[in-house]
Symmetry: none
Subunit: 206 residues, 4 copies
DNA sequence: TATGAATGAGTCTTCATTCAT
DNA sequence: AATGAATGAAGACTCATTCAT
């Protein structure tokens, strides 16, 4: 006769899930081990059967999110040789899958993007990878040569993190919708009648 | 010769400044009153001479940042009747002063944008105000009629917060530079040769 | 061999007992959690395993005393229909059990009667219950019709609290002894030769 | 030109009065020097111009009450040789002046009787003096020879303190009224038909 | 006579973590 | 696989009191 929850893997997974939820809702410091185990129907010492410390479980959550994100982005470089007309659709596909990733586990996204002290690093890493992708594509002539891809990629990350928080995680808009908005913004801007770009003595064109 | 710190207002201001710095560097919970007062050359009880609690001084800091930001944005609507050609320059001016505000007191910006639990609310408020401004300008024909200003303003806030953190606060680029990049991105996008916009059955154009 | 104090209920009871003693001897403010736990052979956090706060354990102590007292007095109304000659003996029994209650746990009595801010309320409640009992008995003709039972019961409470503190708690006299003194005083007074009662223009007889 | 409140004696008296009020209302520990001086329109250091410490001002208040009380009681022994019939009226007069003393400065009475740690001692002293007076009168045959004046005086003090708190200080009954109730109770008791006194094998008669 | 500014000393309370079973 | 009981370490906050002016 198995004891209730006697399957260690189950308990571990349960703790991980609940911890993610607590961290996402309350932040790292306000989350208490006692709350987590209590929601899991366990006691405090049991927690330490599966995780070394509060920090360890948090790191595991952040790590999972981070590596999944990295993998996704690494696999999304535009293949060379696609027709120029296809660029927007390719971008759209990439961004859609990115938003889908961010939306499928809101607690982890919350943690990785907004709670963790690693958040800044994660987004920087993300921006760097995107910048690489974009530069490669830029070299193939898909984007304006003078565009500063460091700034563009940081901007893109900023847009993504903001829309994720404000539109995606609370269910206001679906991934594809958001992706399309972003593509159109980054492709064409919002200006009615394109005219010259702003510049100045001390500024360089984007 | 005046006693060191014998002026209460000086002590208060000092504590406020040091607290901002500690909160910005270490976050709310890791910041200790003992550290703050020690850096100010005071003792713990003195802190409570000027502030009700740790939370109170934090709130004051956040409040100052928030109201300053609000005031700035509220005063920045494009006046109607300017020539269409001037729109980019006006936007540039607005964004420049915004980045300047965000860059002049990095600790407060850090707190208001990234540390406070109010951060989300602050940015939402900011996005809402910007959306209002943009809509007004949209009605005067400066921007594409079909652009969804809710998404645009959220995106703009995302870009601003990201560039502030990655480029402005660590001194990589000056306010004007960033502002110009943002204007160009939002005006025209990064696309080399404008072609049709992406769309889909279930999506509406931006 | 059981670990010392490994039984939670024992620890709780121990803390409760020691706390009562400390509160009784030193008053609420001078009583330190550190002293209580140290006397119990525990550390401070253990205290919070069993009680929410210093105030909570104090309230529990006061509450226990109060409810026990209430129960005792509520159950002590003289049954109607007893012979008039038996009234003193019945009163004697009631007062004896009251003094016994007050004397069996001196620390709690000290707390409930003299330390707690609720003391006044406790004694008022006690006086009100006694007044009710006395009035019922008065209606059955056991006591003089013109006696003001509000004043009498307050007086009785005053006598009880004073004798408890001065004679009972320090062991000078046993419960029965005190009860008998009180009965005789309230029944007959101390006057050698009963003469007329004092009265005055503006006073009503007791 | 005199500074406001430049008269030291005025400030001192003011502090004393306010302190009495605060101590009476809030107890010793909850009373804060900061509150006292603030109500007096002074600052904290000024307090130490007139009193050595918080404890010192408290002691002064208690001392004043105590010595006034002592003086009053000492002067109230029944002169020998009065007619037996006059005893009640003499007692009445004594008790009336006692209640008047207790009622004229409620804050001080509150402090001396209920707040101070000296309260027990004050009442004991009071009981002892009363016992002396009563014994003297008992020897002159005014009271029953077998009455135990130690218990009687303690009881009397108990009645006085209780009626003072419950009836006098909150204005429910005037001094003379209370005094008369007490005299009648102690002279004759409340029994309708005097019958034998309770006694027991192990008890001695009052 | 009065005060602006500052502090020494002390206590409650919290929480992650562990031990023995 | 799980837990009842216990703790080490740390930080916020309070208040009577004093110094220099």
């Amino acid at each position: 006769m198995r004891k209730k929850g006697a399957n260690g893997q189950e308990s571990r997974a349960k703790l991980l899930m609940i911890a993610a939820n607590e961290f996402a809702r309350s932040g790292y410091h306000h989350t208490k081990i006692s709350t987590i185990v209590s929601r899991a129907g366990l006691t405090q010492p049991s927690f330490y059967l599966y995780f070394e410390s509060k920090e360890a479980i948090f790191r595991e959550l952040v790590g999972n999110f981070r590596s999944g994100l990295k993998e996704l982005i690494e696999g999304s470089r535009l293949e060379g040789g696609i027709r120029e007309d296809d660029v927007p659709d390719r971008l759209l596909a990439v961004l859609t899958s990115l938003f889908e990733y961010l939306g499928k586990d809101p607690d982890s996204t919350q943690i990785g993007f907004y709670i963790s002290e690693e958040s800044a690093a994660i987004k920087s890493e993300m921006a760097a990878m995107i910048a690489n992708n974009l530069r490669a594509e830029q070299q193939e002539g898909y984007f304006r040569a003078e565009a500063d891809m460091a700034v563009i990629s940081e901007s893109l990350v900023g847009v993504i993190e903001r829309l994720t928080l404000q539109e995606l995680l609370n269910g206001k808009r679906p991934s594809g919708d958001l992706a399309r908005h972003v593509v159109n913004l980054f492709m064409h801007g919002i200006c009615e009648h394109p005219y010259g770009r702003v510049s100045g003595d001390k500024f360089q064109g984007v």
